[in-house]
């Protein structure tokens, strides 16, 4: 298509904008409910709000009487804002992902003993499926869980484990790493619980003795760091990623000493 190159509009990464069906058209879909009755005034309020969001050429795809006194809107518009994609720096877990065999070999050769890992779903959170997926034998998406690793001693404590109990157990079992799963996020309860664990760990002098890893569908690495953890994993995490990270981090710490 080279003879046409001048006709093809390329993405401007310095001024990145949403793509609808033409480069840089900025098309965005928005939906929300307003607590006012369905009608032309509600429609106008929806348009004005959408405009305030920085959308141009606002089109109300639909206004629906969701209930007496509530109007639901689907709106399309073209975003004026842009973001400089070239300037975006994201902190991410940087360790390479090893296979189970590689991770086992690394531990065997460079640590020489089984690495002890405790996992739990803390606070009142009873969503164990995520932590089970990481730890239990069966694993997740075809990737074996940590229990399957010969050179890991991974223990799944299940749900509703209190932070203090978890830390006590970690001390007792001489754990190298703690895995915390947080799924319920209402009122940011996950963040509170995560920070509380790290406060308690600090008080017990455990902060740097253990690798602290958090996970859950709304957990990001960034946010885990902000809560004082060493790493965070989100949606779709595979056990091998977690194992790789823990071992790499342990080796890094070992070298530092």
């Amino acid at each position: 298509m080279s003879q046409h190159d001048h006709l093809i509009k390329k993405v401007d990464l310095k001024k990145l904008r949403p793509y609808g069906d033409i480069m840089d058209d900025g098309v965005v879909q928005v939906a929300f409910t307003l607590p006012v009755p369905y009608g032309p005034e509600a429609r106008e309020a929806a348009i004005q709000l959408t405009q305030q969001m920085g959308l141009d050429e606002v089109k109300v795809a639909t206004m629906e009487p969701a209930a007496t006194g509530f109007a639901f809107f689907v709106v399309y518009g073209k975003m004026k804002h842009t973001v400089d994609y070239t300037k975006i720096k994201v902190v991410k877990v940087e360790s390479p992902v090893h296979t189970m065999y590689e991770t086992n070999a690394l531990i065997k050769e460079q640590i020489g003993r089984r690495v002890v890992i405790l996992g739990a779903c803390t606070g009142y959170d009873a969503h164990t499926v995520g932590i089970d997926a990481i730890i239990n034998m069966k694993g997740f998406a075809g990737d074996y869980g940590l229990e399957r690793y010969e050179w890991l001693d991974a223990r799944n404590l299940g749900a509703q484990v209190l932070n203090e109990d978890l830390l006590k157990l970690a001390v007792d079992s001489g754990a190298d790493a703690i895995l915390v799963s947080k799924v319920v996020t209402q009122h940011n309860i996950h963040i509170q619980d995560m920070k509380d664990l790290m406060d308690k760990a600090a008080k017990m002098g455990l902060r740097d003795k253990l690798v602290f890893v958090a996970g859950g569908p709304r957990v990001t690495h960034q946010m885990a760091l902000e809560c004082g953890f060493d790493a965070g994993f989100g949606v779709g995490t595979k056990p091998s990623e977690v194992a790789s990270y823990i071992v790499d981090e342990l080796l890094k710490r070992k070298k530092k000493k």
Partner: protein, 521 residues
């Protein structure tokens, strides 16, 4: 209607095994009571209100039962002591409650009357209590008649459209419940706040803060009941209200629900054990009493087998659900419930990308329908495999709605596009109901139009689940229910007989134990 040809012998055998399994644990149920049962008894006879304790409103019923336990006399039953006190003080229930609450009296310290007298008074209290429950039950029947009852249609028509509210704030719940009724919902559940089930008391008053749900309190029940009665009046149909008779307060919530004319209660013989790590004995004892109240009040229960498919793969583990349904059915019969009250739970929780997944879901749904023909059946939506792509999630719910209407399920809890994100927004629920309205209408008579191939994928899957169930039931019967639970027979979760919360709240009944409800209900 399309039906599956299922091996009737296997069904009979499964039910026989369920009878055996339940009768083996029946002694535990019969010889024990629990703090929850005793508190329920007090609530039923009219002990209301709260005391201040640790800075919060603590129910008087808890306060009284705690004292009896402290004084190590609970084994005779709260009613023994309460009836005795009434006899000896001549006070009314309200007056006595007042005096107990402010510390003027303590039940175990009161001089004892004769057993016959106590039993007589206790019996009267119970009969009066039941008369009140019967009144609420008849009130429901009247309203069902005058307004029209969408459930009457369930067996010929469309599944009952059922949604949850879970704002944490009962007043917003009321607003959203009404909104849902306008959109077409016929039943509303107020989801409980995370971990309320682990509280060994029921909070008091109207509440406006919760995590992932709203506290179940008697005042909240009232507020919501009123809101839905209003909505029902406006929409010209009886609207059902749901809460949770589950967790450590299983039986008292049944009592409160009966008093406040709730219609549906989540209530399962094993859910608390498996999913809240509540002690086995405690759960089995509580479920029995709660179900007796439920039976009397004509409440429909929803059992929790759907939850198994969130921790155990749904394609592989249909038999866990069915086995549990047989056991739940049996426990319910023991508590005098009618089959028509049994909203046995199951769910469309298979991986959406599994080949022919709709056929497998149809197989499971149709077999559930055919095996429990009189039960309303509660059909739960996809949740486990829901992801943040709300558009895709909406489709999964559409196919779930389709399965529901095709296989004639009774009560359809609608899935939400934002299941993987948050408890439903007002418009999430609105669009979920619109989906059900559309699909239930579009495919209304499809179930009557088709027949399933005899040896097809659907028939084979159903028969496989049934065969697997028989194997599982045999194991459970052989090892006993307690051991079976320890061996992860349900939901791939293991629990032990002495583990879990609330065992300390189980009390062996004295031979002088008094609780006429057991005879009257």
């Amino acid at each position: 209607m399309a039906h599956l040809e299922l091996n009737q012998q296997t069904l009979i055998e499964c039910r026989r095994l369920a009878g055996q399994i339940v009768s083996k644990v029946k002694p535990v149920i019969d010889t024990n009571t629990s703090v929850s049962i005793e508190r329920s008894v007090l609530r039923l006879i009219g002990v209301e209100g709260s005391v201040k304790q640790l800075g919060m409103d603590y129910p008087v019923s808890n306060f009284i039962v705690d004292q009896l336990r402290e004084d190590r006399v609970l084994s005779r039953g709260a009613l023994f002591w309460f009836a005795n006190a009434l006899l000896k003080t001549g006070a009314s229930v309200e007056e006595l409650t007042e005096k107990l609450a402010n510390g003027e009296l303590r039940l175990s310290q009161i001089e004892k009357a004769g057993m016959a007298e106590i039993k007589k008074t206790a019996g009267e209290l119970c009969r009066k209590a039941l008369a009140k429950l019967a009144e609420r039950r008849e009130e429901r029947n009247l309203l069902r008649k005058s307004l029209g009852d969408p459930m009457d249609m369930t067996f010929q028509g469309k599944p009952l459209v059922y949604v949850i509210v879970a704002t944490g704030n009962i007043f917003e719940d009321a607003i959203q419940g009404k909104a849902a009724v306008e959109a077409g919902a016929n039943a509303i559940a107020v989801i409980r706040s995370t971990a309320q089930s682990l509280l060994d008391y029921v909070p008091e008053g109207a509440t406006t803060e919760g995590f992932g749900g709203t506290y179940a309190t008697q005042e909240n029940f009232r507020i919501m009941r009123k809101a839905l009665d209003e909505a029902g009046e406006k929409s010209g149909r009886y609207i059902r209200l749901t809460n949770y008779s589950s967790g450590l307060c299983m039986s008292e919530i049944a009592a409160m629900a009966a008093i406040e004319r709730l219609d549906f209660l989540l209530n399962d013989a094993m859910y608390g054990i498996l999913f809240r790590d509540i002690n086995m004995k405690r759960t089995l004892i509580d479920q029995n009493f709660s179900r007796m109240i439920i039976a009397y009040s004509d409440i429909t229960i929803h059992t929790g087998e759907d939850n198994y498919l969130t921790t155990a793969d749904a394609v592989e583990n249909g038999h866990q659900v069915l086995a549990s349904q047989f056991i739940n059915e049996r426990f319910a019969l023991e508590a005098h419930m009618k089959e028509e009250q049994m909203g046995l739970g199951h769910a469309a929780e298979m991986d959406p990308w599994h080949p022919n997944v709709l056929l497998l879901e149809i197989a499971r749904a149709q077999m559930t329908r055919d095996i429990f023909p009189k039960a309303p059946i509660k059909f739960m939506p996809p949740t486990r495999h829901k992801v943040g792509d709300i558009f895709f999630s909406h489709l999964m719910d559409a196919m779930f709605n389709f399965t529901g209407i095709l296989t004639n399920q009774g009560i359809q809890l609608l899935g939400m596009p934002t299941e993987a994100m948050h408890t439903p927004l007002l418009h999430d629920r609105w669009m979920a109901i619109k989906s059900a309205n559309y699909i239930f209408g579009a495919a209304q008579d499809l179930g009557k139009e088709i027949t399933y191939k005899k040896d097809g994928i659907i028939a084979k899957h159903a028969n496989k689940v049934l065969d697997d169930t028989l194997v599982l039931m045999r194991k459970i019967e052989r090892d006993g229910l307690f051991k079976a639970i320890e061996d992860k027979c349900f939901a791939n979760v293991s629990r032990t007989l002495t583990g879990g919360k609330g065992l300390e709240g189980v009390i062996e009944k004295d031979k002088e134990y008094v609780n006429p409800f057991f005879e009257l209900l």
